[in-house]
């Protein structure tokens, strides 16, 4: 038990981060699985973090309620901006969500209640390991069920060919809004969890770089199944720890990963189709 306590006191933050990042990667997976490249998830996470932290600090709400509201707040925002934003596609959608993220960041930077550039300090440490584990498990289960249902198939169809999906009777706009909103909810909950174990939050954590980090996790892992984002988020979180010696160049590796994956592993690390090919070849060689 001794060694575990040692391990935990050194690495608990890291383990927590892996869990929170996994949630974030799943949140962007949801929109990507619908063919939407949205860069708003960092902002949604920020909204969740700030709303929940303020509820805890100012109103003393109970933690479960705070977590729930941390998810609902960005989901409401997503619902409101979703209809006009999701009319855009491709590059325009990416740009609009990026701009939205900046608007959120700058707003938080300038509000008094959010503590401006200094952020919020002294958020009680409410998040425990099992909270993250349970919510992550719940999310994975829920998304796995979703994937296997008509909704998951509809997402996939929209991703592949929006027009054909419409003509097969799928209400494309509604499903896009669903993916966007559900993704924002998950990101918001992740933000709330994060705020209640880091003690301190500031607008810097929710800007463009965070959005790119989240995207990198999903792109690296691959989006053809739920394992991809989980794998990607673990690697992106643990990589800097493994590369401590590179201190100044740590994010260089992140950038390089992004470029190399896009160039050489277009479907990400976890690509069942490629595995099948490998597996098939191995079997062929045996015969």
């Amino acid at each position: 038990m001794e060694w575990f306590n040692d391990f935990w006191s050194t690495y608990s933050t890291l383990v927590f981060s892996v869990g929170v990042h996994a949630l974030l990667a799943l949140s962007i997976w949801l929109t990507l699985s619908c063919g939407l490249l949205s860069l708003a998830n960092a902002a949604f996470m920020g909204i969740g973090a700030y709303v929940s932290a303020l509820l805890t600090l100012q109103l003393g709400w109970s933690f479960p309620l705070v977590l729930l509201t941390g998810g609902i707040a960005p989901a409401v925002v997503a619902l409101l901006i979703g209809a006009p934003v999701l009319r855009l596609s491709g590059v325009y959608l990416a740009m609009a969500t990026l701009a939205f993220g900046e608007v959120v960041r700058i707003t938080v930077l300038n509000l008094e209640i959010t503590g401006g550039p200094e952020g919020l300090n002294g958020i009680p440490l409410e998040t425990e390991g099992w909270h993250i584990a349970a919510l992550l498990a719940l999310t994975i289960y829920g998304l796995a069920r979703l994937r296997r249902s008509k909704v998951g198939r509809a997402f996939e169809a929209i991703k592949e060919d929006e027009v054909a999906a419409r003509l097969m009777g799928i209400n494309v706009d509604r499903y896009k809004l669903l993916a966007f909103t559900l993704g924002s909810f998950i990101a918001g909950v992740a933000g709330a969890l994060n705020a209640h174990f880091t003690f301190f939050i500031s607008p810097r954590e929710y800007g463009f770089e965070a959005a790119v980090d989240i995207l990198t996790m999903a792109v690296l892992g691959g989006i053809s199944s739920l394992i991809g984002p989980l794998l990607g988020s673990s690697i992106i979180t643990l990589l800097p720890e493994l590369l401590r010696s590179l201190h100044d160049y740590r994010s260089f590796v992140n950038g390089a990963v992004l470029v190399l994956v896009v160039l050489f592993l277009p479907k990400g690390l976890w690509d069942p189709r490629r595995f099948r090919k490998w597996f098939g070849k191995a079997k062929g060689a045996e015969a």
Partner: protein, 293 residues
């Protein structure tokens, strides 16, 4: 004082326009949002600084060197990354994601090489001199910046309008397929465009570095976002739109900073950008270069 602010706005706006011009050129011709453009801008800044402070190069030579280096970087991005993606017909968001990675790499490399602290051009290398025109303090530096920006833009506009190369580029912007059927060397012109666009980004970096006399590894990112705001304002791929949009943003920013708060200047830019995307994605002033699949 309003006149003073207007001068600041003109200086800033002309550099925004210069930066956005390269940005929009790449989108118009290659149909790629090159999100490493901000980092290349930053590299231009450091390159000039290095040439001036380590090789004692005169400023004009340093500018030339910065353009060359950033242009080469842009060319490399095209040859090493964008070209293979084109070759395998990657989905159109893929190149954008790759250029995000390039941006991170360059920023991080600059931080590793030069540190995170703010660097400045040595005082004696800056064009000195200041005069007062109608009560407005005009720095020689500002005149130089505006002049360089406008000269380069004029050269680019003329080249696009009057030369064979410009006509070919416009043909590609309409439809790469048709252009290649016409015997235009599309790949070659993609390379040229990438070089020119990045060189413009690099020189914009030098000019901003001089204007604020502050160079940091992170300076590319807000610029990138402003560049996005400008080209969306002006219509993506629209050259003239980038010029008008750049000046417009310069004025909007300076004015809102002067009369609202300093942070609000940025919020105004992005709020505007967001709204325009929702209301009129083809841009306020421009028409979009629509491309038939």
């Amino acid at each position: 004082m309003l006149e003073q602010q207007l001068l600041n706005a003109l200086t800033l706006g002309s550099v925004y326009a210069l930066f956005a011009l390269g940005f929009t050129l790449v989108f118009g011709v290659l149909a790629v949002i090159n999100l490493s453009h901000g980092a290349i801008f930053m590299v231009g800044s450091y390159a000039a600084l290095w040439l001036v402070s380590h090789l004692d190069a005169p400023l004009w030579l340093a500018m030339l060197g910065a353009m060359l280096l950033s242009g080469t970087l842009g060319l490399l991005v095209d040859v090493l990354i964008l070209k293979p993606l084109r070759a395998r017909n990657a989905p159109h968001l893929t190149p954008m994601i790759a250029t995000i990675g390039v941006g991170i790499m360059l920023t991080s490399a600059a931080q590793g090489m030069f540190g995170a602290e703010v660097l400045r051009f040595p005082e004696e290398t800056l064009p000195a001199g200041e005069f007062i025109v109608g009560g407005v303090h005009v720095r020689a530096l500002e005149i130089a910046i505006v002049a360089i920006a406008f000269i380069l833009m004029a050269v680019l506009f003329t080249a696009l309008k009057r030369t064979q190369l410009g006509r070919a580029l416009r043909a590609i912007a309409e439809s790469p397929k048709a252009a290649s059927l016409l015997g235009i060397n599309v790949e070659g012109l993609f390379h040229v465009t990438s070089f020119v666009a990045a060189a413009l980004g690099g020189i914009a970096g030098v000019l901003i570095g001089l204007d604020f006399n502050a160079i940091t590894p992170q300076m590319g990112q807000p610029m990138l976002h402003k560049g996005l705001a400008v080209i969306i304002l002006g219509g993506m791929g629209d050259i003239r739109g980038a010029l008008i949009g750049g000046l417009f943003l310069g004025f909007a920013e300076v004015i809102s900073k002067a009369y609202l708060s300093s942070q609000m200047g940025d919020a105004v830019a992005f709020g505007l950008l967001f709204l325009i995307l929702l209301v009129r994605p083809s841009g306020l002033f421009g028409r979009v270069l629509e491309r038939k699949a």
